[in-house]
Amino acid sequence: MKYSVNSVWENKDVYDIVVVGAGHAGCEAALASARLGFKTIMFTVSVDSIALMPCNPNIGGSSKGHLVREVDALGGEMGKIIDRTFIQSKMLNSSKGPAVHSLRAQADKAEYTKEMRRVLQNQKNLDIRQMEVTNILTEDGKITGIQTYSGAIYRCRAVILCTGTYLKARCIYGEVSMQTGPNGLQSANYLTDSLKSLGIKMYRFKTGTPARIDKNTIDFSKMEEQKGDNRIIPFSFTTDPEDVQIEQVSCWLTYTNEKTHEIIKNNLDRSPLFSGMIEGTGPRYCPSIEDKVVKFSDKNRHQVFIEPEGLNTTEMYIGGMSSSLPEDVQYAMYRSVPGLEHAKIVRNAYAIEYDCIDARQLKSTLEFKNIEGLFSGGQFNGSSGYEEAAAQGLIAGINAARKLQGKEGIVIDRSEGYIGVLIDDLVTKESHEPYRMMTSRAEYRLLLRQDNADLRLTKIGYEVGLIDEKRYKDLLKKENMIEEEIKRMEHTNIGTSDEVQKLLSSYESTPLVSGTTLADLIRRPELSYEALAPIDKERVVLPYDVKEQVEINIKYEGYIKRQKRQVEQFKKLENKKIPQNINYDDIQSLRIEAKQKLSQLCPESIGQASRISGVSPADISVLLVYLESYYKKN
């Protein structure tokens, strides 16, 4: 698609940073950069689609909930907005270990969008502009500005690309194919070419979404009701838990059946996935219903979650049945599901294809290795999900600002946060599908809990300048209280009094033979911090979040210590930095595959190098020795 503009002109308003896109990545990036004092302008193809949720109506979920907490701990916005706009909330995996507890909230989509837009509009230093960006302008490998479809040039010192699924987007179902972004929004068809001409390697990914069905046509009596938690825990560390105890809306559970699968199987040849009409690579973790029926043919039913999209809409999201089958097949298949017999579709299910990048072209700061001042975040980087996008947007925004401040970029490493795992995976590992966060990707997940995101990251947020003095002081106070209470638990002796034995037997816990400490009792699986209150005479009332930390840290001490030792080893390799001007071809003993991979990726540290596939431990040893002699020589 070529076009030419005759009316090139330069907009003389002064901007430091341009953000391209206003999705979940773009919003966090723009807010961070503006809050750090830089004149920021955020471009979007439609101002009405700011912070849009074009797919599922929730924020959080397993491991994604962690990301939201981390974004909040660093001074990002997502957690605060969802706390004000959710309509149902659950702590997932609450019967499992604390590492995998994860918050997930149903969002009122329209309210979420509105609320985020309100925050953006009131943000100092931030302008919002509806216009498609078509050109990235550089000089000598440095960002100088951007150009819009209308021909206007905006000068700036850094650009953050958060184009989501909009680049050359195409929506497909059956034989129908439309050149639009999600929800029928205008796609961005020109930026890809500009990026390619800058030498950036592009991928084409695919994802999909299920149909939305009119609530009034659903028979909920045939479904199981799924209620929210009794006691709601907010996402943001700044939200008062009392403020989120709202009346909740239910979700509903139903199932596909043999008939549904029959309909799908009979129409597979009409699916663009199977006919080859879709060329992009789809995610394995988010298979369409036709994928599931084919791949897991032994299952005779699949779960279907019916989720409300908001309070002021009758649209219901049909979770578990995303599809790109033709419209008539969609009707037949949805209507074969109990409760959906008379369902009327408001929006079709569809697959969407879009351009994104091979994120290995980025540094860990999310700046392009080859273009100074160009940053990117979100689905553009090959990830998927609102939360993954927000996390990257925030880091890209912070680092673009720090670049202009002349400061070194912030890198959260794999031992500090899910954000670190996410970004490191994206910039280090080859991926052929949209990347989704999962708890199994985090090596040190016992340390990276959603409950301690503030203890892990808020200091960094404070250093960066996104966390205010009061929040920082509160954090130090909390840290201190936890430390003191753990100490007290470790040093408070408990004798074998009748009262103690009685308490133990009431929890079916073995009676004491000799004295012990409160901490040792907490370590017993059947006991808890709360359970010991009657025999803990000097206990003072502590806030809930402090008690939680005390309990987790004592109860899982063995595992936590073990992971901390692993982290020490990890940090040693992470701290061995590799100069970017190394010529790997000069290192004779490296195997050829290792040479190629290392030259291509230019890892920033020995740790990162060791995570590149095709680089062996022996290559790492060789590299260590080479670096040592390199540093001695220079």
Partner: protein, 471 residues
């Protein structure tokens, strides 16, 4: 870089003289204190002193030893270093190293002492290249040997166990990532049974590694000779069921037969090669080239000569290959009419050597020669006697890298077992399911180090391929 404590045998694995086990790292003294009994506590001894005492494993004395204590930084590696000088028997050195490993050290990676010496500034910058080469070549060798020496049946077993572990971990992880679709409640009971079964398998593997049956450990022996000299019949005699243990070994090429044989308590990996002669036949030529390669890497060469035919240029070619190896010449077909004698063979050897070496000493007399008849099974006993003598005199030795690899693999098996014991403990204690998968993955990783596989995206791939996730 890692600063943990490493250990290795720093002398060759021969049955002679003195053996040295070297320990280096922050905890070197702690380790020796746990296993050494003598007049002094070695961590308190002066640096660069030698001490007489005993090494004990549990309560048994393994050996009478001299221990050298050297404190950082004036040591080869620049770290605290302990050297245990023991009696040189292979069995004793092995036991001492194992004891050291059980008490807080880990096996050194190939070239790791040298690497540490360099990184701690104990070596000249100009030596960097050499250090790098040592690391890479030793690693290549170790990797090659660890994978190629692993018995096929053991490898399959380990792979099966890994598959099982991965499956269960993936199930748990899927449930954690998608709790609304998949429930892992009560899974501990099912997992407990599987883990118990795997633990029994691992224990079997560990005890078989004590008997050296994990690795194709033993003397790499190659049989060479002209076509039809009787190589295969010799192999058949040697591997006859009444006197030897025969194992099928996977991965042999169609031209090379390989068997593991025990003779006089020694393990021999015998490789039968294609006959060596000038040939235009491509396939046969490849076989011959391969035979030459095997001879190069062999610990022992058995040259089978046919005494019913006269020596020709093909025999010369073979002698050229083998005269500077540990070789036994077997003059086969003594039951037939001989046209050549031991004397003829000696003259031939001396002729060849004088061609290649100027002062040709009488090397031929150092190469043992035996008259045998593979067909009549004559001379076999004499052959076994000679073999035993060569080994005891230290002329023959195991390849020590292979032994070290075996030990490393044994440690990995033990590590995997330990992780699985933690899983059992977590299940027993009713810990949440996510704790199981942490230890399961540790076991998976430890076992992978034996088969030379890294984890990479295994878990993620398993999750997606075996389980149906939501959305």
């Amino acid at each position: 870089m890692k600063k943990d404590t490493i250990a290795a045998i720093s002398t060759g694995m021969t049955n002679s003289g003195i053996g040295i086990v070297r320990i280096s790292g922050d905890e070197a003294f702690k380790v020796i204190d746990r296993i050494y009994t003598g007049k002094e506590i070695l961590s308190k001894a002066d640096s660069h002193t030698i001490h007489y005492g005993y090494i004990k494993r549990n309560r048994d004395i393994i050996d009478e030893v001299l221990v050298t204590v050297m404190k950082a930084p004036k040591t080869f590696t620049g770290e605290d270093t302990v050297e245990i000088n023991c009696h040189g028997g292979i069995f004793v050195i092995q036991k001492i190293l194992e004891t050291v490993l059980e008490n807080g050290a880990r096996t050194a990676e190939p070239g790791e002492f040298t690497k540490r010496a360099f990184l701690n500034g104990k070596m000249d910058l100009s030596q960097a290249e050499a250090v790098i080469d040592v690391i890479q070549s030793k690693n290549e060798y170790a990797l090659k040997s660890s994978i190629s020496q692993l018995k096929g049946s053991i490898r399959r077993k380990i792979e099966d166990i890994r598959k099982e572990i991965l499956y269960h971990t993936a199930f748990i992880e899927t449930a954690l990532d998608d709790p609304e679709h998949i429930s892992v409640d009560g899974y501990g009971e099912r997992l407990r049974k599987t883990v118990e079964e795997i633990k029994i398998e691992l224990k079997k593997l560990i005890s078989s590694s004590d008997n050296g049956r994990i690795m194709k450990e033993g003397i790499q022996t190659v049989i060479v000779g002209k076509p039809n000299a009787g190589k295969s019949s010799l192999l058949n005699v040697l591997s006859g069921k009444e006197r030897a243990i025969v194992t099928d070994i996977e991965g042999t090429t169609r031209d090379i037969l390989e068997e593991q044989i025990q003779i006089q308590g020694l393990n021999l990996n015998i490789i039968d090669t294609a006959g060596i002669r000038d040939t235009e036949d491509i396939i046969e030529k490849m076989g011959v080239e391969k035979a030459k390669e095997y001879v190069k890497d062999a610990d022992l060469v058995l040259y089978v000569a046919d005494v019913s035919r006269s020596l020709d240029e093909n025999d010369e070619k073979i002698l050229n290959l083998v005269y500077n190896k540990k070789t036994i010449i077997l003059l086969n077909k003594s039951d037939l009419e001989s046209v050549i004698t031991k004397q003829d063979m000696k003259e031939k050897i001396n002729k060849i050597i004088s061609k290649s070496i100027s002062d040709g000493k009488d090397i031929s007399s150092k190469i043992p020669m035996i008259d045998i008849s593979a067909k009549e099974e004559q001379g076999i006993q004499e052959f076994e006697e000679i073999l035993k003598k060569m080994f005891i005199k230290g002329n023959l030795s195991f390849n020590d890298e292979i032994y070290i690899t075996n030990l490393r693999q044994k440690s990995a098996l033990k590590e995997a077992l330990k992780s699985l014991e933690k899983v059992t403990e977590s299940i027993y204690k009713k810990m949440p399911e996510d704790f199981y998968s942490i230890d399961l993955m540790d076991a998976y990783e430890a076992l992978g180090s034996i088969t030379g596989e890294t984890i990479g995206e295994d878990l993620i791939n398993e999750i997606f391929s075996k389980f149906c996730m939501g959305k």
